[in-house]
Symmetry: C2
Subunit: 232 residues, 2 copies
């Protein structure tokens, strides 16, 4: 576990003995595909860092509609906010696939943080970045229509692959719909329309970006999971 933890950005720059203490309070847990990690409103007793697998963080409406806030993977902590503001998880977390998570109990971790300025600053940086991502998400959901959000997402995936024109979605289109704040039918239709217009080519989860320019116009500059904003 130590060799994993020392590469987690949240723990960057920490001396070996401190990493040891962190490893000392961490507990690994395995979750099956579809298994719930925690639920909205549940008392928060700690947070998690994935070693393997991916976790969907989402809100649920009473009617069962779901809005994905984040998909957390390798080395991406989640549930930390609940640890420092005392109390309850603000959303649901569910494993998208078999996942191995390291769980850190809140009281012990808060204690370590209080006595380690580097760890505290790392955590402040993490929460701050997350806050910016949320501002970007709100922007997407409130100020853009579905084609714009979809275009943003495609560009985001392409950029993650160093700007490749041929991309492969790593989530189902149903899940993508819940990320974009819409439903599978609408995703299907919008992808179809873009394909008809020659902007993209779709073959299952494989999508080729033909006219990146047009996508960038639709996305209006704001990208999905990074800060968004930028002088405009």
């Amino acid at each position: 576990m130590l060799s994993f933890l020392e590469n987690v950005p949240l723990f960057k720059g920490l001396p070996a003995d401190q990493l040891g203490r962190i490893a000392g309070i961490g507990v690994s847990r395995v979750y099956r595909r579809g298994e719930t990690v925690f639920s909205d409103g549940e008392a928060a007793d700690g947070f998690y860092v994935p070693m393997r697998g991916r976790i969907k963080i989402f809100k649920l409406s009473p009617e069962g509609k779901e809005q994905v806030l984040h998909i957390m993977g390798f080395q991406e902590p989640f549930g930390e906010a609940a640890v420092f503001s005392g109390g309850r998880f603000p959303a649901h977390a569910q494993a998208l696939e078999e996942s191995l998570l390291i769980f850190f109990p809140a009281p012990a971790f808060v204690d370590l943080t209080r006595h380690d300025p580097t760890l505290a600053m790392n955590m402040l940086a993490l929460l701050s970045r997350r806050l910016k991502q949320f501002a970007g998400l709100v922007e997407q959901l409130s100020l853009k229509e579905v084609p714009g959000r979809l275009a943003s997402y495609l560009i985001y995936v392409s950029d993650r692959a160093h700007g490749a024109a041929l991309i492969e979605l790593d989530i189902s289109k149903t899940l993508l719909a819940n990320v974009l704040g819409t439903i599978p039918e609408t995703v299907s239709r919008v992808l179809g329309k873009m394909a008809t217009e020659g902007i993209i080519e779709v073959e299952g989860r494989r999508i080729r970006l033909i006219e990146r320019k047009k996508l960038e116009e639709l996305s209006q500059g704001a990208s999905f999971y990074d800060e968004g904003g930028g002088a405009r």
Copy 2:
């Protein structure tokens, strides 16, 4: 300024000498109604704490549509996220009225935070609470229709006034529309409809909640600026 700072929640629990240092790096600035405090994407050189007045934090679409993320008032810091994740403000900030802000330059404040665990923990708590609020905002915008959001807002204002049935909006309906992710026309119509149905009475900015039960049904439990969530 000291007597103001010592009551700011962010600075609670700090010893007098530390408060003195914080006061030492703080600079007061006055903003006129409508004046810009900072802009989306601008390099962040510090953050602000209002002593007087209110500041609107918002995102802007290229077409000029605006989504309000927060309205910050007395003792509510804003712009802190940019300080700890380095870089740029993720949204616009504009004074709603004549405001007096204390500005804290990023480098000096980060330095104080690094050497003061209590301040660091307070800041972690603040960012965490903010994160939960964002999760609530996303929930509102993505999972609820306008009547639901409006009902949430009315209940929020009422609760802030200790559950009073007669409330007074402290923002214009146009601004309220931008908080709710809609437009003034729609706010007008929905208020009208609720009044017709006998759920509320509207007289300018004064609104009487007649059937709180109905509003709570519409709002589906989630309230606006607090964590939302809760076991359901």
